[in-house]
Amino acid sequence: MNLEPVARPKSAEPWARTTNRARALQVLGSIIPIAVAAASWLLGGVDLIVAVIFILLPLLLVSIGVVGFILKGKRGAPDAALIVVTIFLGTFVMVLLMSVVWSLIEAGFSALSPHFIYQNNRYVTPTDPLEFGGVGHAIVGTLLVVSLSTLITVPLGVATGVYLTETRSKGRGFVRVIIQAMAGLPSVVAGLFIYSMFIVTGVSQYAGWLGALALVPLMLPTVARVTEESLKLVPQELRNGALGLGASSWKAFFQVTLPAARSGVVTAILLGVSRVVGETAPLLLTVFPIAETNWNVFNGGMATLPTYIYRFVNLGFDTAIARAWGAALVLMILVGILFGLARFVSRPKSLKKKKVKR
């Protein structure tokens, strides 16, 4: 007997049905408290934050609760409280986060100009207007330090991912825990580590490559974990097929598994880079910031975007802070590009579909 699933009507969610009366009540219940709070803020002269927390929130709780009670009886009131609190808290923190984004855009773009991108800070004092100088040297420094760090971390991180997925070794659970723990390594400790290993012992002076080394333990967990996730998505049949055709394990990995997981591995690298590109503390402890462009990672000081922001904020002049905002926007654009690339690369869903089928 062939049991076909019975076709279900699209609107088979009786709990989701609403009537016009319900909608009208909901709208009324949310508009009245907002109107009262807005009136007390604009006309009554109550402080905005007081109006929101002590007038809007309790009124909303009561009115939506009443609406819920009318519509669904006793079960409606706690529902209403949950919805109000969720939306209220979510909106509250979203306002704060939007404030971060907005000030970044507003203050950042007013500092941004073509020469701000490519000029360096030689001959520029912190009080100079923004017509002169820029963050070119810091962009160069960030790119160099982070690229070197990426070169070291990626083989290590990808191989760790391989260890976690392709082998059946007993130590995997332990390594997984270690990597999770390492993901929370304070960035300042990573900086201190490289400082005590190379600078205190006199092996090297402050230099860009030390900063790159300090970023490695911060980047490694992200790369390893995301690589592991993406290798896990490769169907086991592919590996078994390759092995069954007589390939050795390393050939099966490099010719079958890795190509199948390529986009995931690239995503891992990009996410790792975007994790460390904004790290400040390790670079402050290992790289001496200078005002000129330095292309040599192995010798001399080097400015990077995060340390540039830190230095100029500490100087405290208005123009210095404006420069810091400009550098912050450049840094955020860099992070955004990496993030967008990671999204774009991980877009092909062919692997994920297979996983669902399995």
Partner: protein, 324 residues
């Protein structure tokens, strides 16, 4: 005819262990890389420990960790107030961040329409990628004055409770402001972990709850929260680890006081944070002070290591689908 004339291929033995040299190298390299993270952690402990040893000996471990005062002239270093300040600010930030993060995750997973949910997920993930130095810059230039105003308001109305009292008259650079900045920093992190956990909850459980007459609230309280509690706890501990290790953002918005504990007065402009202490003293430190700073780093590292190990353990228990 060619088929019969050629010799039959040698039958390969079935093996479960790598047989060829290439395979041995392949597995050896990957195992070595796997244990490299362990090597990193051991190296960090060794190098920091060796440099910090003189401080632990001279100051005494207990006195160094729990005592007060930081003076390079008297060669007397203790990080008690800094350690407590780190914990206080992080706890404050986490306490504020958790309800908000859960709200956002709940909204995205269970209330929003798919299109809004996708957009909000993208936005929250992007916010989680904001470098902390930018949050610190925002906290210093934009939020500090607003936060001081909030603090003053709270102190004026609830000042009779010791936690909210303020005797300094200034509400800038308080643990409260640092806590809000930390909360803004870790809300996206906790929220994306929580959302991930929420999205893995078996939909049948929720449908069953609704079918049995449960409403949103009881479903949330009796189904969603218990199922995802350990996952959320893991996410919160990850956020806590991030908060404890935060350096620059706290340095920008908090007044560091070395010689006395600020136990709970979150609106007084006095607080501490180990990571920020390291940053603030590092520039012109004497050799003995550098050793003390490295010792502070060791304490911070061990603290975060413990918290993150617990977090990793809890998350691993909560996500059995991740340990194939």
């Amino acid at each position: 005819m060619a088929e019969t004339s050629s010799p039959a291929p040698v039958r390969r033995a079935l093996r479960v262990k790598p047989a060829t040299r290439e395979d041995k190298i392949f597995f050896g390299v990957s195992a070595a890389a796997g244990y490299s993270s362990l090597v990193f952690i051991v190296l960090i402990l060794i190098f920091l420990g060796v440099q910090a040893w003189p401080t632990f000996v001279e100051q005494g471990v207990f006195e160094f960790v729990f005592g007060t005062g930081w003076s390079s002239n008297d060669v007397q270093y203790s990080i008690g107030p800094m350690l407590w300040g780190s914990v206080l600010v992080a706890a404050l930030g986490v306490a504020m961040a958790v309800p908000m993060a859960i709200s956002i995750a709940y909204f995205i997973e269970f209330m929003a329409t798919p299109r809004i949910a996708r957009a909000a997920t993208l936005f929250v993930d992007l916010l989680a990628a904001i470098p902390s130095v930018i949050i610190g810059l925002w906290g210093l230039t934009i939020f500090s004055s607003v936060g001081a105003e909030w603090g003053e308001m709270i102190s004026n109305t609830l000042g009779f409770i010791p936690i909210f009292s303020n005797e300094a008259g200034s509400f800038l650079r308080t643990p409260f402001i640092a806590g809000v900045v930390i909360a803004v920093m870790i809300v996206p992190i906790i929220s994306s972990v929580t959302r991930e956990i929420f999205s893995q909850i078996d939909g049948d459980l929720i449908k069953a709850s609704i079918a049995l007459g449960g409403n949103r609230e009881s479903t949330f309280r009796k189904i969603i929260l218990p199922v995802s509690a350990s996952g959320i706890t893991g996410g919160v501990l990850l956020g806590l680890g991030r908060a404890l290790g935060e350096t620059v953002a706290i340095f920008f918005v908090l007044n560091l006081i070395y010689d006395q504990f600020n136990w709970f007065a979150i609106l007084e402009p006095a607080g501490g944070a180990i990571a920020s202490l390291i940053l603030s003293k590092f520039g012109e430190a004497s050799p003995s002070e550098v050793s003390a700073l490295l010792a502070a780093g060791v304490v911070l590292f061990i603290l975060t290591l413990i918290i993150n190990s617990i977090a990793a353990f809890i998350v691993a228990k909560a996500q059995p689908w991740n340990n194939r």
